[in-house]
Symmetry: D2
Subunit: 304 residues, 4 copies
């Protein structure tokens, strides 16, 4: 029996003692002012018992971690038709994601890179009457927490400066793979990125991926087969061009965000969320990666 | 002494007798309805004498041919500082122009591809009080013809469907190589593309590139050194990924447009404009290329 | 308790009844003459009990599946220094593997693509006195089967026609990432690809990756941490540009070869090898993929 | 009437007074030991009168300049069938020439990049009984100088270290665009690169491209149409990814070599060869470019 609390405490101690805490994302003011000394880790085991250490109740900008949740909602709505619009292969290279998109006629490699999440956003805009409100309700429902909300100032900041996302969206549109107009799709895209959540709120939400689709309240979200497929995509594509490295070092499906959060999970076993705002040069949380590597090493638990 | 009229008549006869006239650009309705049977060729020799055959007084959409004229105006305003914002090398490959732009940090290869002309448009928007009106006046001035004007319905159509140009503009903006906002720049860009001109109006305008910068009214536009440089860029970059082929087969600096026009010139000798709306698979006028190859073969005149 | 024999029988029945059996690799005569109607599947469970159905005792050309074994031997010899010479990220795209190699200065993306396996071969050539003999002995040792051998005619055929592998090797050498001369390295590379083994011999060998490094004779090969890392690489990179798809549909680490074999495994649970010479358009065994998808669906066993 | 001698003297003075003479190619010892202070310029005017200044009688390694001469010989032998095997478009980018070659199925962009010259070499190997001897005789014949010869130590050095050329040749061969075996083709390729010639010998040879195919002895080489086409290719493709820049700054067809030589010419007017071993960062002779820019500026002579 693994003593999770003990491991989380040791991880937090090590994190606090690490001098090089990485570099905070600075492209919008709302992220730039995060406190580099924050560190939190929260874990739900297979029985739904919570273990936590550090700053696990403080909210931060979830950013790309929500790509898993918009994917889940779209997969639920469209079923396997989804894969005609977006692929399931790793993109390999960060800097040429537009060039891959161009070569591959506007079909993004996978739903966890920006281009793919824009296509997923377009689907939700098409299928939902009020995408912003309904997506928020969907997340609140899984987390059983109606206090979760968008950080509108983050969304507005990204809208003003997210030129590369506009470029990706227009390129996709030029290939006919975007049904709605770019402004509408990106408005939703920037909002879903801007969710503010704490480690504990996140681990409650992502718990469904470790628990065969059942949330803590025992409601089923997605089918088991769909849950497994999303886990497979997280493993292959959850860390941009560091996906192979994360599988290699940590050995769990997961997803990171530039706000400094990382979620990872072992099916039928546990779900864990870390938060530390300092990033490595690939854009993933430096201390988060260190924490998760220590977790799987010390517990001996990984999918491999 | 070359008998230009005789050659132009023979070219026109051959063009009219050619069964395969290429394929008309169909991405906007205004271009799609062009008449494939139209053919015109107009030539000004070194003395400013006009030779013409076929439909040389009918106006058509000038499209990319104006990229040479916006370049001229920007070169006049900025001098060699222009080359910090846009290069002078051929782009090689059409389908990956966004990928080159991405690799090269938003500095377009040259001013005669769309991305480069967008940067040039941004410069004119920054430097001019009323870019649309002033650019039109600039062209009217060189041509000595105040009847030249924009085709606003063409500009509006391109604005509604030119998603790839939006993608390029936003990508350039993401690298900080666009001063103004994308909507303003592209509004000007789409308008300058939409000029309606006849072969005769065009040959009057482009005559300056064959005549050391002097127009038919003997006014100097640009310096001789600048004229030579623009001619060099036309030779290297005037026909997208068919630039080498055009130099190889025709041997003159030139520029084509998807409206079916082509301009070409031999410095100190002649300037010629052809019009035939049917395009080859590279997007250049099929009969126009055939006409220009015959012109240089029959006259023995080329830069090589 | 899963009834593996029942599942394997059902899989074999389905395979035999499938009309479209894919297309046999034809680039060398030795592969082209394989019999498309052959199908075999062999599985070792966590207790080392063998289950099998179909043609599991017939030998075929192992091809790229051995890349996992040369990797294992090199990882054992070099430890983590290996990762300075070759990466652990998926390559994404098959057709441009030389272009990625060029962009990334001759460091292959991972050891399971040709370029990576050439670098691994170079390491073995440097470290071993008699690479061919010692590698064969290494495989025979894990499999506890001294009858395993090279098919020299396959190796010779590949040597005569493997121009793209020569191109990759010389490109790597041009970046200084190949210590030995190209001919020597490729001679070993083509030989290790040419191993002839049956499904049963293969499953005996690859069992170590499902059994924490212990072979059926209970000898330890590599450390548990190294075994996990190789499994992670198999998951990310084992199926070229279909790696994401394999993870998505099958959910197991694995590796395919153009001889029609596929190995896959669930750590602490089972190792399975399929053989069917017909390939899909991505170069992976068509019926093998179908078989493995059915295996994980029917058994409910996968890493996700 | 241009005073060429005066201009050449001024150019040589300026070259000798320039402190930054560029960087000598160092990848083989034979080039690395060149003397950076050497500078020569030789020019033949339309009457065949020679003007020269500096070190114009000293031989140096001609390197890529001979690509024009192997092209000429192959064009003579194959006529326009040549263009089925190699293109006429600029390659745009130096560092990815293998990736373009891969994308375009082994058909090199043009005959003046390495990959293209390898295909041209293959043609000569197929068509000639004794390629080395016959090509040398061809050059000696145009130059009317039987003292011209290969520098075998240069050829041997390149053969030992030219791994990237091996990679290109094998990649071309993998696409079926190389008839002979790679070793034989590259042996000829490295020899033709290794010709040792002086500025005066070179200008005598390349004079045919300025003189409608007639050499100083009034013998016709190639047809006028072929001469023009080779000039067009030199203009588009003669300076790798600096071709546009050379056209822009100098305005003449030309070709450079890493030995520090550059040839350039104005049809019906003059042919000029410069030599200075120091290269700029694009691999073209730094003082040579400066000299040619001064020549066209001071003389007012260029094709534009």
């Amino acid at each position: 029996m693994v003593d999770f609390q003990n491991i989380l405490d040791a991880i937090t101690l090590e994190a606090n003692n690490t001098l090089d805490k990485g570099k905070i994302a600075s492209y919008i003011p709302e992220l730039a002012c995060a406190d580099k000394n924050k560190f939190g880790i929260a874990l739900l085991d297979k029985n739904g018992t919570l273990f936590s250490a550090g700053d696990t109740k403080e909210q931060f900008s979830v950013q790309s971690m929500t790509k898993v949740l918009t994917l889940s909602m779209a997969f639920d709505l469209l079923g396997d038709n989804l894969w005609e619009l977006v692929g399931v292969e790793p993109s390999g290279d960060p800097f040429n994601h537009l060039s891959l998109l161009e070569q591959e006629n506007g079909k993004p490699r996978n739903p966890l890179i920006n281009a793919g999440a824009i296509v997923v956003s377009d689907i939700l805009v098409s299928k939902l009457k009020n995408p912003r409100a309904e997506f928020l309700k969907y997340v609140q429902g899984i987390a059983n927490d109606s206090s979760i909300g968008y950080d509108v100032s983050v969304a507005e900041s990204e809208k003003r400066t997210g030129f590369r996302n506009y470029a990706a969206a227009y390129l996709i549109k030029s290939f006919g793979n975007l049904e709605n107009d770019v402004e509408t799709v990106l408005d939703f895209y920037f909002h879903q990125c801007s969710l503010s959540m704490s480690c504990e709120q996140l681990v409650n939400t992502f718990y469904i991926f470790a628990n065969r689709g059942k949330c803590l309240q025992d409601n089923q979200h997605l089918s088991l087969s769909q849950i497994k497929r999303i886990n497979a995509i997280m493993l292959s594509c959850g860390f941009y061009d560091e996906a192979g490295e994360f599988g290699f070092r940590v050995g769990l499906p997961g997803k990171s965000g530039v706000g400094g959060g990382i979620v990872a999970l072992l099916p039928d076993n546990f779900c864990v969320v870390t938060w530390s705002p300092g990033l490595n040069e690939k854009g993933n949380s430096k201390l988060g990666l260190q924490a998760l590597e220590k977790l799987t090493t010390d517990s001996g638990l990984s999918i491999f």
